[in-house]
């Protein structure tokens, strides 16, 4: 471990860390925008659930390197390729957890809300989603941690966030940048995971008081 290298490369570290975060946040954002409506449709029309899971599942199974390379002919060596690929990987977990969360809402709770005059949209926003929230956020946590790991793979197509340090270390047969890259990306994943747990605590105050 060469601490002098770390000291003299703080700018690079900051830049790549920011790129890593930008890629992750963008992928989660777009992933959620796509997955959420899909999940609502799947929760309402159960017949569509298996096909939607099947398609997002197949996309998830395609190895990440393969997926990024398969996108290259269409979107080139660009940030679009990275974010598009990462977004595709978030879909399965986000869709599945949102649907399972909504399915977990007890029927008598829904019936009680209907009897109290909740219309479908209000029922969804004020009753079903809050109850489903822990499972939805569990999905976001998995998606966030997975995406942070996957960003490093985009180093193979010249980006990579902290993964760029792996390539740099490999080319120069120098372990320090690789260790920095591994440690920071794991730390980033832990930080993202904990912040989402925090978000869940803030958004579900009733769960705290009950315990």
């Amino acid at each position: 471990m060469d601490w002098a290298w770390v000291g003299s490369h703080l700018d690079d570290i900051q830049h790549l860390l920011l790129q890593h975060i930008t890629f992750t946040v963008s992928a989660l954002f777009f992933g959620f925008i796509i997955a959420f409506p899909l999940a609502l449709v799947a929760a309402r029309y159960p017949r569509l659930y298996q096909p939607i899971l099947g398609i997002t599942g197949v996309l998830f199974t395609i190895p990440s390197i393969a997926l990024f390379l398969l996108l290259l002919p269409f979107t080139g060596l660009s940030e679009t390729t990275c974010i598009l690929g990462l977004t595709i990987y978030t879909l399965l977990v986000l869709v599945r957890n949102t649907v399972e969360g909504l399915r977990g809402v007890p029927d008598d709770v829904k019936e009680a809300a209907e009897a109290m005059g909740y219309r479908p949209l209000a029922l969804l926003m004020k009753v079903e989603l809050p109850i489903a929230l822990p499972v939805v956020i569990a999905g976001l946590r998995i998606a966030a941690v997975t995406t942070i790991g996957l960003v490093t793979i985009t180093a193979l197509i010249t980006f990579g966030g902290l993964g760029a340090f792996f390539i740099d270390g490999f080319r120069r047969d120098f372990a320090t940048p690789i260790i920095v890259g591994i440690v920071l990306s794991v730390a980033l994943a832990v930080a993202a995971d904990l912040s989402l747990v925090g978000v869940q605590r803030v958004l579900t105050p009733w769960a705290r008081t009950r315990r």
Partner: protein, 236 residues
Amino acid sequence: MEFLADLFEWFSDPINWSGTEGIPARLWEHIQYSLIATFIGALIALPLALVLGHTGRGGLLAINLTNTGRAIPSLGIIILVYIAAGLNLLPVYAALVALAIPPIVTNTYVGIRSVDRGVRESAEGMGLTGFQVLKDVEIPVAMPLIMAGIRTSAVQVVATATLAAYIGFGGLGRFLIDGLATFDLAQMTGGAVLVAVLSLAVEVAFGALQNALVSEGVTPRKRTATIRAKLGSTTA
């Protein structure tokens, strides 16, 4: 769609199908890396998780291992071990085994723990020893989740074995890495298609294996689906 024609040409060129650098040879290397790594991973993870699950100890570790494991970048591990250990297959197996262990531990642990308490107690009441309870009751009942864990690991290992090529080894990753280095789109996408197909094949094969290994009396589909959503198994 000129590249589709190139891709087709790449797949139909007999040169790509013969010799030590042909598709069959690379495919076999890829399968070897993946099989060995998944096997070693299961050999380490299964006994550990079965004991933890049976005794109910170490739950927090077992459950959180998978999510933490996901954060470890395999590319970084392969390159780091390569720099430390040199040009042998150790870096590849280190990264792949590390990848294989967490899902098996987590799924197996949760599978064993979620065996109905009444079922476990009746087995004990019938005079089964601890080991018999594990072997004849807990493992069969937990089998869907145990298999789901191995399947998740196997699929991830197959996908990640591609990285072996980055430090100079074989497997299907060769086509991806070489194609990328020379910007040979046909070779690169051809390799990508092969890895994707192999991953899907492994997924399907494990699905069939799971059906064969799970006792007919055990079909907790809905419950398994919910548990999987919580664990974030990659299999749909």
